[in-house]
């Protein structure tokens, strides 16, 4: 199993600041072909035939989105590129914008030609300074060469692109919030419908597409929709870029055909789990996604298969976990993130997720009962059903999926007051095995409290009442004399 690079075709190949190199790699040829040889309808039909679906996470067919936006009445329309990448541990969009900015600019112009827009906006977070600088530089370069701006390549089609810097709110990746933010208002979502394709930026029809979606457009135009549709699974075509992170040997950015299995990604491309430990779960879709247990290692990954097991494709973050990860702690981590990032507009998300988070805290501190688990599931489903936007509708996913696949781990926390992975500090104790302890004093000297006593060459003892469970003694002991339970 190997990477196939479509969206990342030029990343790491060309110098992103030299437009000549991009042109040498067939840059702006797709735009030229579209403007001079195809009608907007033909282009949209080709994108629809290719089966390309939005890479931001939702998986809505891109061609259909363009078609709806084109058919929406109005003279002024907009293209927005969603570069508000916010999932913890995901950096696909940043890599594309830093390594191949022109591919996104070119595809935005193609989208503009299709739907009848003259203006495109890239909504990008200010914490990506290098990507912002390269985009600014590339836009200026392309305008100077007449590949963007007025009368592109001598035709009567004009397209301008401006940047809009976001302050880094996670909710602004949701399209209606993003539009509010571009308009200068608070980043809060609105009720859909009307969808942005009908009434978006400044109430005009707007097509919002993700960076990676745009990066796929030019190859489809140049190589044909049939070529693209030949890659992937029946309902998910092409490739997907994943940011592989966590307990994996080869952390990095990969691009694989849809339908690749987790096993192929982890063991063939990722080089296996660190320290040859056992695989426990893969988290996809960031804070909106779920945890995939080992039983699905051979499931071909696409939009629909992931949704069917309670996770989602998301933008492409993939975090690999081994047996040292506590799933309750992982769910808590993600929920803490969404509680922080909830905009507060609707009650289920603002209050519901907060209450859900408190329940998780009670579990990890050993104060919960089995009833807590039951009520968590109930609350999670209510939040999913009632929240206004995608953030709230998916926020309970990490909790619900871990409850479903790792219930016995929750049970251990609740009934036995025990954390099987040894992560939740309230539930673990460190003890010294007097038979193995050689009295080398390393633990006592490194203990930050300090709460370890004992004479040299005699067994040591941990004062449990003062132990802060930092684990330093456990890490420092060379004789395997300290147990963590």
């Amino acid at each position: 199993m190997k990477n196939i690079r479509i969206a990342l075709r030029n990343c790491g190949v060309i110098d992103p600041e030299k437009i000549e190199e991009y042109i040498a790699h067939d840059g702006y040829m797709a735009l030229g072909k579209v403007i001079h040889e195809m009608t907007p309808e033909e282009v949209i039909e080709s994108i629809q035939k290719s089966g390309l679906r939005g890479r931001g996470g939702g998986g809505f067919p891109t061609g259909l989105k363009w078609d709806i936006t084109r058919k929406s009445p109005g003279d002024v329309k907009y293209i927005i590129c969603n570069a508000d990448e916010g999932d913890p541990g995901a950096f696909m969009d940043r890599s594309i914008l830093e390594g191949d900015p022109h591919s996104v600019l070119e595809a935005m112009a193609i989208a503009g030609y299709c739907i009848g827009a003259k203006h495109g906006v890239i909504y990008i977070r200010a914490e990506y300074p290098l990507a912002v600088n390269r985009l600014k530089y590339s836009i200026a370069q392309a305008e100077k060469l007449g590949l963007l701006g007025h009368n592109i390549m001598g035709s009567d089609f004009s397209f301008h692109i401006t940047l809009n810097l976001g302050a880094g709110a996670f909710v602004c990746g949701e399209e209606t919030s993003l539009i509010s933010s571009v308009e200068g208002n608070r980043g809060e979502p609105n009720v859909k419908p009307p969808f942005p394709a009908e009434r978006g930026l400044w109430d005009k029809p707007t097509s919002i597409n993700n960076v990676e979606t745009f990066a796929n457009i030019c190859p489809i135009i140049l190589k044909g929709d049939a070529w693209f549709a030949s890659i992937g699974t029946e309902k998910s075509k092409g490739t997907k870029v994943f940011a592989l992170a966590g307990k994996i040997n080869n952390v990095g950015l990969i691009e694989v055909p849809m339908g690749t299995t987790l096993r192929e990604i982890i063991y063939e491309i990722g080089g296996g789990i660190q320290g040859n430990r056992a695989f426990k779960a893969a988290q996809t879709g960031g804070p909106s996604g779920g945890c995939i247990p080992a039983q699905f290692l051979d499931l071909p990954i696409d939009y629909d298969s992931l949704a069917s097991i309670g996770s989602m494709m998301g933008s492409g973050g993939m975090i690999i976990m081994d047996e040292d990860n506590c799933m309750v702690d992982i769910a808590k981590f993600y929920l803490e993130f969404t509680v922080d990032e909830s905009c507060g507009k609707c009650t289920p998300c603002r209050i519901g997720n907060k209450r859900l988070y408190e329940k998780l805290v009670r579990i990890t501190s050993g104060e919960a009962t089995l009833h807590t688990l039951k009520s968590m599931k109930e609350l999670g489903e209510i939040i999913k059903d009632c929240s206004l936007c995608g953030l709230g509708q998916t926020a309970p996913n990490p909790v619900l999926s871990t409850l479903k696949y790792f219930y016995e781990e929750y049970e251990a926390h609740v009934s036995e007051k025990r954390c099987p992975a040894g992560v939740c500090t309230s539930l673990i104790t460190f003890t010294i095995n007097p038979e193995k302890c050689t009295g080398c004093t390393v633990c006592a000297r490194n203990c930050p409290v300090p709460c370890i006593s004992g004479e040299r060459k005699e067994a040591h003892l941990i004062d449990q009442s003062r132990c802060i469970k930092c684990g330093v003694c456990f890490d420092k002991c060379r004789f395997d004399a300290i147990t963590k339970q």
């Binding site: 190997k2 990477n3 196939i4 690079r5 990342l8 030029n10 990343c11 790491g12 190949v13 060309i14 110098d15 992103p16 600041e17 030299k18 000549e20 190199e21 042109i23 040498a24 067939d26 840059g27 702006y28 040829m29 030229g32 072909k33 403007i35 001079h36 950096f91 940043r94 890599s95 830093e98 390594g99 191949d100 990506y128 290098l130 990507a131 100077k144 060469l145 007449g146 590949l147 390549m153 001598g154 040997n249 080869n250 952390v251 990095g252 950015l253 990969i254 691009e255 491309i269």
Partner: protein, 127 residues
């Protein structure tokens, strides 16, 4: 550079630049050293690597090497990375490059023609 006024002009430039960046068309052995300069590479020290490469090239009076920056190659675990492209033979990808390895790349690979076996990372993509 002037504005491109037609699709044909773009097609012409496409062909022109293609041959310009085509290493195999050049006389003698030509090298391109591409340094991964995305945020991750820079954070891992790619700028120092690039500077060292320039210094060594100047110090040794090497004429057949171009240093260029490029985007993310995807090998986060091995940053900073340097790809040595050559007019003869396929590209070689080095990982975990620091100033010392950069000097070795120039001395051993470019001058003596012996790739650094201990620093090569296996590629995982097909073209």
């Amino acid at each position: 550079m002037d504005k491109i006024k037609s699709f044909d002009e773009l097609k012409y430039l496409n062909t022109k630049y293609k041959s310009q960046f085509d290493l195999t068309a050049s006389k003698g052995t030509q090298y391109i050293l591409a340094v991964g300069m995305a945020t991750c590479g820079i954070a891992a020290g790619a700028k120092d690597v690039m500077e060292t490469l320039y210094k060594e090239i100047l110090a040794n009076g090497i004429k057949n090497v171009t240093v260029t920056s490029t985007g993310c190659l995807g090998y986060c675990y091995a940053e900073p990375v340097v790809e040595v492209r050559s007019s003869k033979g396929g590209p070689v990808l080095y990982g975990g490059v620091d100033a010392a390895k950069a000097i070795r790349i120039i001395k051993e690979h470019i001058i003596n023609g012996n790739p650094l076996k201990d620093a090569i990372i296996e590629r995982s993509e097909v073209k």
